[in-house]
C-alpha cells in the first residue's frame, strides 16, 4: 500500500485503534488509558498536519476498498474534508484533555473513552468520505458510538434521552439510506464531485431527484437539528459536559451540517440544486430554525439547555449559507462549520466547569461567578460575544459573509433574519454576561469543590481558554493564509469557478 492511500486510512485508524484498545483496559489503568487517549489524539493531529501539507503540495490522498461490485468504500482528502478533519481532530485533542479532567474518579471510564474514540473515528470518517455510501457508513457508526456516551450516567433521564436520540437518528439514517440507494439506482455512482453528478438526469428524473433530495436532507437534518427534527438535541444535554461539547460542536450536529454541504455542493451541485427549486425551501427552513432556536433559548434557565437551543439556531447558519447559493454566502456557511465549533465548545466547557466546580447548572445561579472563576468566565464571555457576532470575533466573520453573500445573491430577506437572530443572541447571552460580571455573588455556591491553586483543575481550565483564544484568532487573523476563512474561500472557488 502506498503512502497516498495509507494516510487517510491511518488517520481514521489512529482513533479506532486506541478506542478498541481502551475497551480492554480495566478501570485502574489510568496511565495507560491516558497515554492511549492523548497519544492517539496527538498522533492523529500530526498526521492531519502532514495531510494538509500534502494536499497543499498537490498530493492526491485516496484509499479505496471494494464494497460491492461497482461500489467502493472511498476515503479521500479534498478541500472540504480537510476543513472538517482539522476541526474534528483539533477539537478532539482539546476535548480529550477536558474529559480526562472532567471524569476523574468517576466509574466506567474505559467504556466512556472507548466510545469517545470511536465517535471521533466516525466523525473523521464522515469528513474523509469520498462518496455517499462511505458517508452513510460513518454517519451510522457515529449514531451507534454516541449512544453509549449519552446514556453514560445510566440514570432514567439519561436513558430516556438516549432513547429519543436513537429514535430520531436511526429514523434519519433510514431516510438517508433510502435516498442514497435511490440515487444510486438512478445514477450508478455515488462519488462526490465538484458540481455534483446528477446533472444528466435533470430532465428525465426531475421528480425523483427532488424526492431524493428531500430524503437526504431530512436524514441529515436530524443530526443537524433542523426544525422540526431537532427534538433530540436539548434532551441529550443530560450527557456529561465533554460529550455535550462533542455532540454540539464537533461530531453529531456537524456531521449533519457537513452532509448537507456535501449533498448541495458535491452530490447535486449548486446548479442542479437551483434548477430543481429546492434551495429556496432549504434556506427558508434554515431561517425558521435560526429564529426558532434563538427564541427557545431565550426562555431556558438551565444553562446547558440554553446553549443547546443556541446550537439548534447556530448550526443552521451553515445550512443557510449553503442554501443561499452564491460564492460569498457559501464561504460564510463553510467557515461557520469551524467557527461555531470553536465558539460552542468553549461555552460548553465553561458550563461544565461551573457544574463541576461550583455545582451551578442554572443561569439564575450564575450571579457574580465572574469573580470566583475569572478565567473560565472570560472564555465564556469571548464565546458568547462571538456567537452574538461582535467584531472581530469568529461569529462576526460568518455573519458578515452571510449578509454580504445574501445581498450579492439578491436575497435581502436573509439580512433581516441575521439581524433578528443577532438581536436574539444578544438577548439570551448579554443578561448572562451582565449577571456574571456585575451582579453580587451569593454567600455560598450550590456545591463547591476546591482544586487548589487554580479556580478549577488545570485540565478543565486549559481547554476553554485555548478554544477562546482560537475564537479570537480565527476572527482576527481571518485573512491570514490557512485560516478557516481562506480555506473556505478556496473551496468555494472550486465549486463556483469554471
Amino acid at each position: 500500500m502506498n503512502w497516498d492511500a495509507g494516510l487517510p486510512l491511518l488517520i481514521v485508524a489512529t482513533s479506532l485503534f486506541s478506542g478498541l484498545m481502551i475497551f480492554f483496559l480495566s478501570e485502574k489503568h489510568v496511565v495507560a488509558r491516558t497515554t492511549l487517549n492523548l497519544g492517539g489524539a496527538v498522533f492523529k493531529l500530526v498526521l492531519v498536519g502532514v495531510m494538509i501539507w500534502g494536499v497543499f503540495h498537490g498530493h492526491h490522498y485516496e484509499a479505496r476498498l471494494p464494497l460491492l461490485p461497482g461500489l467502493d468504500l472511498l476515503l479521500r482528502a479534498d478541500a472540504e474534508s480537510m476543513l472538517f478533519v482539522v476541526l474534528s481532530s483539533g477539537l478532539w485533542l482539546v476535548t480529550t484533555i477536558y474529559a480526562i479532567g472532567y471524569l476523574e474518579g468517576s466509574p466506567h471510564r474505559s467504556r466512556f473513552f472507548g466510545f469517545f474514540s470511536l465517535c471521533v473515528t466516525a466523525t473523521v470518517g464522515v469528513a474523509l468520505a469520498g462518496n455517499l455510501i462511505t458517508f452513510v457508513l460513518f454517519y451510522e457508526l457515529l449514531t451507534l458510538s454516541t449512544y453509549p456516551l449519552i446514556v453514560h450516567r445510566e440514570t432514567e433521564v439519561a436513558r430516556r434521552a438516549g432513547r429519543t436520540y436513537l429514535i430520531y437518528t436511526i429514523t434519519g439514517g433510514a431516510l438517508l439510506l433510502v435516498g442514497t440507494v435511490w440515487l444510486y439506482s438512478m445514477t450508478g455512482t455515488l462519488e462526490f464531485a465538484h458540481r455534483g453528478f446528477v446533472a444528466g438526469l435533470l430532465d428525465t428524473h426531475r421528480v425523483s431527484l427532488i424526492v431524493v433530495f428531500v430524503l437526504l436532507v431530512a436524514g441529515l437534518g436530524v443530526k443537524a437539528a433542523l426544525v422540526p427534527l431537532h427534538g433530540w438535541l436539548p434532551q441529550a444535554m443530560v450527557a456529561p459536559a465533554p460529550v455535550s461539547a462533542l455532540l454540539h460542536a464537533v461530531a453529531v450536529v456537524k456531521a449533519g451540517a457537513f452532509g448537507i454541504v456535501r449533498v448541495v455542493d458535491d452530490v447535486y451541485g449548486v446548479e442542479a440544486t437551483t434548477k430543481l427549486g429546492v434551495s429556496g425551501p432549504l434556506a427558508a427552513l434554515a431561517a425558521v430554525t435560526i429564529i426558532y432556536g434563538s427564541l427557545r433559548a431565550l426562555f431556558q434557565d438551565d444553562l446547558k439547555r440554553r446553549l443547546a437551543f443556541s446550537t439548534v439556531s447556530q448550526v443552521s447558519y451553515i445550512v443557510l449559507g449553503i442554501a443561499i447559493i452564491g460564492p460569498i454566502a457559501t464561504t460564510g456557511g463553510l467557515v461557520h462549520l469551524v467557527h461555531q465549533g470553536v465558539m460552542k465548545i468553549t461555552l460548553f466547557f465553561c458550563a461544565g466547569n461551573l457544574a463541576e466546580t461550583l455545582g451551578i447548572h442554572k443561569v439564575s445561579e450564575m450571579n457574580g461567578v465572574g469573580r470566583r472563576m475569572p478565567w473560565t468566565m472570560a472564555a465564556f464571555t469571548i464565546g458568547a460575544l462571538g456567537m452574538i457576532g461582535v467584531p472581530p470575533l469568529a461569529g462576526f466573520v460568518t455573519k458578515w459573509y452571510l449578509g454580504v453573500g445574501a445581498l450579492d445573491a439578491g436575497q435581502e430577506w436573509v439580512v433581516y433574519i441575521l439581524a433578528g437572530s443577532s438581536l436574539l443572541n444578544a438577548g439570551y447571552f448579554l443578561p448572562v454576561l451582565y449577571a456574571v460580571w456585575f451582579k453580587p455573588a451569593p454567600d455560598s455556591w450550590p456545591d463547591e469543590r476546591s482544586f487548589g491553586r487554580f479556580e478549577t483543575s488545570w485540565a478543565l481550565l486549559a481547554p476553554p481558554v485555548v478554544t477562546a483564544l482560537l475564537t479570537l484568532a480565527v476572527g482576527l487573523l481571518a485573512s491570514a493564509p490557512f485560516s478557516p476563512l481562506q480555506w473556505a474561500r478556496f473551496i468555494t472557488t472550486l465549486e463556483y469557478m469554471p
Binding site: 464494497l67 460491492l68 467504556r111 452513510v136 457508526l141 451507534l144 449512544y147 436513537l166 439506482s185 450508478g188
Partner: protein, 486 residues
C-alpha cells in the same frame, strides 16, 4: 487423478461421528470435536475444488441418475455448506461449556446427525432426496428441542414435530405429482421437462406450502417462537441460523430451476407475506418481555426479508436475499448464544431485569450488540449489504414499495435491539446471585457476531462464490451496471 469425494465425506463424516458419539458416550467430546473440525476441512476442500473447476456433479457409487443418487454442488450449495460449518464450529465450541456431561452425550450425536442432514440437503440433486434429508433434519431438530426437558420445551417440540411431519407430507405429495408427470425427480432433468399445467401448479402449491410451513413464513410461523425460545441456547442458535434456512434453500432451488415462471402473482404473494412477516415479527419482538422470545420473533421478521426477492426475481435480488440469509445465520446464532450466556448468568431472561449486564458480562453484551448491528442492517455489516442489494434491486425494478418493509423492518429491529441494550445500561439496586459463564461461551458468541460484521466488508468474496455454476442465472443487473459505467 482420482479426486477426493469431499461431498460424500461431508455427509458421512458427521454421520459416523454421530454413531461414534452414540456408541462411546465416554469419548463424546473427542469424537464430536474431531468430526466438527473434519467437516470444516471437507468444506474447505470442496470449496477449493469448486473454485478451480466450477460446479460439480457427483454420482454416488458410480450409479448416476435416474437410479442412483447424484450430489450436486454449485456456489449456492457451497455458501450454505460454509455458513453451516461456521455456525456449526461456533456452536460446537459453545456447547462444550454449555452442557453438563449428562446432556452432552445426548446433544452431540443429535447435533452431528443434524449437521449430516444439513450437508446432505445442500448437496442433494433430486427432489426426493431433498424430502429424505428434510425429514432427517426435522427429526434431529425436534429431538434437540426436547433436550431442554420441562413442559415448555416438550410441548414446543411436539408441536414442532407435528408441523414438520405435515409439511413433509405436503412436500412429498408434490414430489409424487411431479414424478408422475415428468418421470424424474432429478432437478436438472425436471428443469428441462417441466411445462406449465394444472398438475404442476398443484405440485408447486403443495411443495411450496410445505416448505413455507417449515420456513415459518408469516402466517405459518406460529410454531417457531415457542420451539426456538424453549430449546437450549446452542440448539436455538442452530434452529434459527440453519434449520429454517434449509427449507428456504429448497424453495429457492425449486423456484429458480423447476417452477415455471408464468405470471408474477405467486412471487408477489410471497413478497407480500414476507413484508407482513417483517412487520408482524418486528412488532411481536418489540412486545416480548423475555429475551429468547424476542430473538425468536426477530427470526420470524428476518425470514420475511428473504422472501422479498421473490417478486423482484433478478439475480441481484436473489443474491441480496442469500446475503441476508448468510449474515442472519451468523448474527442470530451469536445472539442466541449471548442470550444463553445471560440466561446462565442471571438465571432468567426477563429483559426488564437485565441489571448491569453490560458491565458484568461485557464480552457477551458486545457480541449481542454487534450481532444487533447486522440484524438491524446498519453498516458495516452483512445485514447492511444484503439490505442494500434488495433495496437497489427493488428500486431498479421500479417496485419501490418493497422499500417500505425493508426500512420499517430495520427501524423495528433497531427498536427491539436497543430495548435490550438500553436495559443493560441500568443501574442495579441489588446484586443478585449470579452464575459464572465460561469464557468459551462468551468468545464463541463474539466470534460469530464479528463474522457477521466482517461479511459487510468482504462482500466481494461471497458474491464471487455465488457465481459458481450461476445458480441465479446470468447477472443481468451487473450487465446493466457495466453498460452504464462504460
Amino acid at each position: 487423478m482420482q479426486q477426493i469425494p469431499w461431498e460424500v465425506m461431508l455427509i458421512l463424516l458427521p454421520l459416523a461421528g454421530a454413531m461414534a458419539c452414540f456408541l462411546w458416550p465416554r469419548r463424546t467430546l473427542l469424537f464430536g470435536l474431531i468430526s466438527a473440525l473434519g467437516v470444516g476441512g471437507c468444506v474447505a476442500g470442496l470449496g477449493w475444488r469448486l473454485l478451480e473447476q466450477g460446479a460439480q456433479r457427483y454420482a454416488v457409487g458410480g450409479w448416476g441418475a435416474p437410479l442412483g443418487i447424484d450430489l450436486y454442488a454449485d456456489g449456492l450449495s457451497l455458501l450454505m455448506l460454509i455458513i453451516t460449518a461456521l455456525v456449526g464450529l461456533g456452536v460446537s465450541i459453545y456447547s462444550i461449556g454449555y452442557f453438563e456431561r449428562r446432556q452432552a452425550i445426548l446433544f452431540w450425536p443429535l447435533w452431528l446427525l443434524l449437521w449430516s442432514a444439513l450437508n446432505a440437503l445442500f448437496l442433494s440433486a433430486d427432489i426426493f432426496n431433498l424430502y429424505v434429508t428434510l425429514e432427517l433434519l426435522g427429526l434431529a431438530a425436534v429431538a434437540l428441542v426436547a433436550l431442554a426437558g420441562g413442559a415448555n420445551a416438550l410441548t414446543a417440540a411436539m408441536r414442532y414435530l407435528l408441523v414438520n411431519m405435515l409439511a413433509s407430507l405436503c412436500y412429498l405429495l408434490g414430489v409424487a405429482l411431479l414424478y408422475h408427470n415428468f418421470g424424474s425427480v432429478d432437478i436438472a432433468i425436471l428443469a428441462q421437462r417441466v411445462e406449465a399445467s394444472p398438475a404442476v401448479w398443484a405440485a408447486m402449491g403443495l411443495m411450496s406450502a410445505g416448505l413455507l410451513l417449515k420456513s415459518a413464513l408469516f402466517p405459518l410461523h406460529f410454531w417457531l417462537p415457542p420451539a426456538h425460545a424453549s430449546a437450549p441456547a446452542p440448539v436455538s442458535a442452530l434452529l434459527s441460523a440453519l434449520v429454517v434456512k434449509a427449507s428456504f434453500y429448497i424453495l429457492l432451488r425449486l423456484w429458480l430451476e423447476i417452477f415455471p415462471q408464468t405470471g408474477a402473482a405467486p412471487g408477489q404473494l410471497l413478497g407480500v407475506l414476507g413484508a407482513a412477516a417483517v412487520l408482524w415479527g418486528g412488532i411481536q419482538a418489540l412486545r416480548q418481555t423475555r429475551l429468547k422470545l424476542l430473538i425468536a420473533y426477530s427470526t420470524v421478521a428476518q425470514l420475511g426479508y428473504l422472501f422479498l426477492a421473490f417478486p423482484l426475481g433478478s439475480s441481484f435480488a436473489w443474491k441480496g436475499s442469500l446475503y441476508l440469509l448468510l449474515s442472519h445465520a451468523l448474527a442470530k446464532a451469536a445472539m442466541f448464544m449471548a442470550a444463553g450466556n445471560i440466561l446462565r448468568f442471571c438465571g432468567h431472561d426477563r429483559i426488564a431485569d437485565l441489571d448491569r449486564v453490560a458491565q458484568r458480562l461485557p464480552v457477551t453484551m458486545i457480541a449481542f450488540s454487534v450481532a444487533g448491528v447486522s440484524i438491524v442492517g446498519l453498516p458495516p455489516s452483512g445485514g447492511f449489504i444484503g439490505k442494500w442489494m434488495l433495496l437497489e434491486a427493488a428500486l431498479r425494478a421500479g417496485q419501490w414499495w418493497w422499500v417500505i418493509p425493508l426500512i420499517l423492518g430495520g427501524l423495528l429491529a433497531a427498536a427491539y435491539i436497543f430495548k435490550v441494550i438500553g436495559y443493560a445500561f441500568t443501574q442495579a439496586g441489588v446484586l443478585r446471585q449470579t452464575n459464572k459463564v465460561p469464557m468459551s461461551m462468551e468468545w464463541a458468541a463474539l466470534a460469530l457476531a464479528l463474522a457477521a460484521l466482517l461479511l459487510g466488508l468482504v462482500a466481494l468474496w461471497p458474491l464471487s462464490l455465488m457465481e459458481i455454476g450461476l445458480p441465479f442465472g446470468g447477472s443481468e443487473v451487473d450487465a446493466i451496471q457495466r453498460a452504464e459505467q462504460s
